[in-house]
Symmetry: D2
Subunit: 358 residues, 4 copies
Amino acid sequence: MLVVMKAQATPEEIQAVCEHIEHLGFRAHPMPGAQRTAIGITGNKGEVDRGNLEELSGVAEVIRVSKPYKLASRDVKEEDTIIRFAGTDATIGGRNLAVVAGPCSIESREQAFTIAEHVAAAGAQFFRGGAYKPRTSPYAFQGLGLEALKIMAEIRDRFGLRIVTEAIDNASLELVAEWADVIQIGARNMQNFSLLKHAGHMRKPVLLKRGLSATLDEFLMAAEYIMSEGNYEVILCERGVRTFADHSRNTLDLSIVPAVQKLSHLPILVDPSHATGKRDKVLPMARAAIAAGADGLLIEVHHQPDKALSDGPQSIYPEQFVRMMDEIGQIAPIVHRKLPRGLHIDTTPTETHAAHVK
Amino acid sequence: MLVVMKAQATPEEIQAVCEHIEHLGFRAHPMPGAQRTAIGITGNKGEVDRGNLEELSGVAEVIRVSKPYKLASRDVKEEDTIIRFAGTDATIGGRNLAVVAGPCSIESREQAFTIAEHVAAAGAQFFRGGAYKPRTSPYAFQGLGLEALKIMAEIRDRFGLRIVTEAIDNASLELVAEWADVIQIGARNMQNFSLLKHAGHMRKPVLLKRGLSATLDEFLMAAEYIMSEGNYEVILCERGVRTFADHSRNTLDLSIVPAVQKLSHLPILVDPSHATGKRDKVLPMARAAIAAGADGLLIEVHHQPDKALSDGPQSIYPEQFVRMMDEIGQIAPIVHRKLPRGLHIDTTPTETHAAHVK
Amino acid sequence: MLVVMKAQATPEEIQAVCEHIEHLGFRAHPMPGAQRTAIGITGNKGEVDRGNLEELSGVAEVIRVSKPYKLASRDVKEEDTIIRFAGTDATIGGRNLAVVAGPCSIESREQAFTIAEHVAAAGAQFFRGGAYKPRTSPYAFQGLGLEALKIMAEIRDRFGLRIVTEAIDNASLELVAEWADVIQIGARNMQNFSLLKHAGHMRKPVLLKRGLSATLDEFLMAAEYIMSEGNYEVILCERGVRTFADHSRNTLDLSIVPAVQKLSHLPILVDPSHATGKRDKVLPMARAAIAAGADGLLIEVHHQPDKALSDGPQSIYPEQFVRMMDEIGQIAPIVHRKLPRGLHIDTTPTETHAAHVK
Amino acid sequence: MLVVMKAQATPEEIQAVCEHIEHLGFRAHPMPGAQRTAIGITGNKGEVDRGNLEELSGVAEVIRVSKPYKLASRDVKEEDTIIRFAGTDATIGGRNLAVVAGPCSIESREQAFTIAEHVAAAGAQFFRGGAYKPRTSPYAFQGLGLEALKIMAEIRDRFGLRIVTEAIDNASLELVAEWADVIQIGARNMQNFSLLKHAGHMRKPVLLKRGLSATLDEFLMAAEYIMSEGNYEVILCERGVRTFADHSRNTLDLSIVPAVQKLSHLPILVDPSHATGKRDKVLPMARAAIAAGADGLLIEVHHQPDKALSDGPQSIYPEQFVRMMDEIGQIAPIVHRKLPRGLHIDTTPTETHAAHVK
């Protein structure tokens, strides 16, 4: 159920409607829009009596929502959600393309700094690196944990990059929310509803990856889990689905980009690195994602992929990343986007790292 | 890496080899077999020096394991794993078929007792019922939680049924391990590695459902996660995979039964209720599962499926369950199995519940 | 559109209704049932005026069919279709299980006779062998063609087995219809609509295999193509679908057996050999298919699978086939079926072939 | 097996090697390249003796090909295949993007001319329209057949567009080869090997659509079937594969574009209309295809899609097609392509048709 407020409704009227809803035993989710505010009603204790609500001051209309997701739907909020980061001009959603780049795993301070320097210089606004790794094998490298989070916090300070990293359970979620700027929920946890709910209590944006066999409805319902707990800053991410096809690790399903944008106001990024699993497919699919209208990219970059502790074969070289940024920068205006200009810090490669750039 | 002990090796020799392995910084997993003991070595800090191990007293052979899973593999343990429950003759694995039956969710004490009485009378040894439900929608019924666990503990006392119920996070895992007999990990959590590791620290058997798009290797690797933490009592469960086919909710992949049995010593059950999602497909698929060689079944039973709070359309009626037990009891000897005889308690339907049996 | 005649309608009345339908420019398909006759109306030139039809003598009811398939539907014909073969008691559909066995390809007269003798002795009523092979590679063995058809005709004479073999185009279709008893249309041709239409003009039953990614509706629509041309003797066959799972060649989807039986009167067989692609999975899946309610099996048998020119790894040995027949014979009564007793000919292995039976 | 000739080998030497191969009972496929000629050897009668071949005059090297396809492989022909059309500058493959546009089915002369005029004016070089339609239902519109072919021949004369249309069996193949410029083989016939072989005997290029569940290897093997009969002008076309995803009709698998280009010299087009099945997804996926590096597009265009006899919902309006051409024209230089300039004929909408352009 959704209460649409009149354009001229006052903050007091909105507040009164929310209190009325809560008083009835439901939960109110005010969603301010450019024109007017809509208030989503959630709670699974039964039916709301529409009559009373329509009579409250400032209410324009009460509508029953047919989609199983509400807060993620354009029915509730028509305008695109744009996620902003205090103290920077980095955004996710809106006209500016968001580029999140970095290694699969943080392996050492030196490795992380080398790669961060490259991607910052090339114009990325976000740095990604795994601290907690959900590995298929219990015997594989599981990540450096808190140590990696601290390294990435230093990277934020040094290069001005916002930090995106994955949480794999409630314990790591608390730490990621404390140290990073965006909490990533991985594909294998897309229906870990307990984790989604906890992420809904955090005050940091959540980047939610599509599960390997998730339908569009399930994907938006997973976002709804986070939003229904009060955290409305959810960023969706397509990373390939599992099919019979064997020429790429997963099958990148770019048609979900316009499909999401039709139904939901949430931004959607694309991760061509995990989808293809092969370095030589990353650039073509990165270009295709931007051309399809995605709000940005997640890209794995490594200066020594052959020595990477995880996912080396799909990491691109820094010089390929530069080329990719150039190419998507050219495609951007065709889809009414732009690549925000480089950061206002000195990103000239230092002597130590310059050798890595060919 | 796997150390195979001589048939006549003494417990002291086995102990000494384990200590040597731990001293090297690895973890030793002694797996006693009917003929001799094998010791699995896990830990991801590098290579073990095979030379030293082969020279230890009582060691027959040291072999490198090529499969990514070790403890779940028949290479480590050739004999089928049979899981026993103290104080009962209920087993999972081995000659006796294991039948786990009950409602999708525990909705009330009366509902649970009614169904338990029916399934016990028909010869089930295990009762299943959801206390914590991983629902696609945040607005759907999420289960009664601890209250449901307590109801099921009463059912164990009253009907002698062992209790199987799902844990969805670490908090519910602790409670399920305390109150139930088997901890279920659902399909959507099959690669929730954090949860798998915690389940590996519990001292109760774990029933692990195959993920919706999990390969056989990933399925066994998920079992390996639990086993690598020291809990070797893992029960696998096929419950359908996601495909393009739309005549059943998921596609039940029965060929994984002989495939698992070839590679692994772990028992495997089949859940035709979740796989098909349709009442009229449950009996045919239950018969097919037993004919294919499965170690048992998970079946949703409800006396009033139209009023069920979840999964009503796939729950069979108690009288259908009786018929199913009769049919699989006839198939059992053809695959060298048997249905253990009814429990030694009075299962005559009481007045209160008799009306439900037509 | 479907015209249901009264139970007491005379042949003349049925004939008159058909002529009326044809006169209107449509095609009439009389489908006699145990109780009464239904007449399907097909033709894509627009709407039939229901009024006139309902007034004709002997008409009970005129109903609009909502399913895209009509002639394949139980709406048109409620009773199961049983396909009979003149001069034998072999049937497909009904109480008797139909077992079709033989090599993937006919390689030589000796090979074919050796295998035919084995499968006849074990109780198969149908012999299968490829004369025209649809191979993925143009450089692979493509079959012996007409020579193979002639060898199989000899096998029919010698062992009393009915012959099932595949047609891959119109030319081979004519020859198969001339020499064999059942025309097989392979999975890759399930939507070769031109071939389906031609098969609809033949006066021999058609065994139609499900396409690798065909939905249930598409499968029944392919049968409808054959039936809409006047050939109502269609036998469906599940042979596995393509999924991400890699432990078997395809994923055998047994739940389509009860799904087909609910919607259609046509018999459905199961081919576990092509579905699994692995010898050790064939018997478990054959048992499962019969337990699920299938009308019979297609099984690849070869006495020297290592020397087979195609599909050796999935062919079972003659002694495994004997065991399979024994096992499904035991399961049959549980699903109200039976395995018809051996043929009334001398199937004692002759000297020449006896050596192959261990 | 592949014979690589020296760069300076004479035509006579090449001819002599081919004759030697044919004399041995194999088939020789000379493939002239920019640098030198390679000769593919096909035929399934056994092993070629490499020794003799290496000693022939002009031979540089004899190499064994490990891939199951040979003629379609870059091993045999390193340079991209560019297909040219006599009397025009239209090409498929190479720097120029190829755009094939038109209605799903030819419904009438007026409908076809109206659409042809629009797409020619917008810069398409190829016109597509169905004459023979492979429809899932036997009761659906099956196409106008020869009448449609004649209408399209008129369109070629009037607008200078090359004609692409589908053949569904040998009879229609002969007619399509006679009347059209490119023979299309549909997704459902990708493994209709009999049809592929016949197409291999035609002297017109063949546009081969990927089957709904075809792997990359199967796709290239289907092309190999055509090529092995002597027709080397094969154009591949990705049109979506069947997956569990339900937000688009099929899942467009763009990663096959770089995957094909790595292994094969054949051009590959993308059909976003059939893949998505929805008008509002066509432009985003068309842009994405070009950005991924495809050699061109197949697009369904209809001026009155609501009245179309087939596939209306996925046909874009002429004005959307103009916008699409503009957008891909802007993306083209980023991937080192260009959209060839408009045709040298008068494409000013005539009075009759002008009204359709808004």
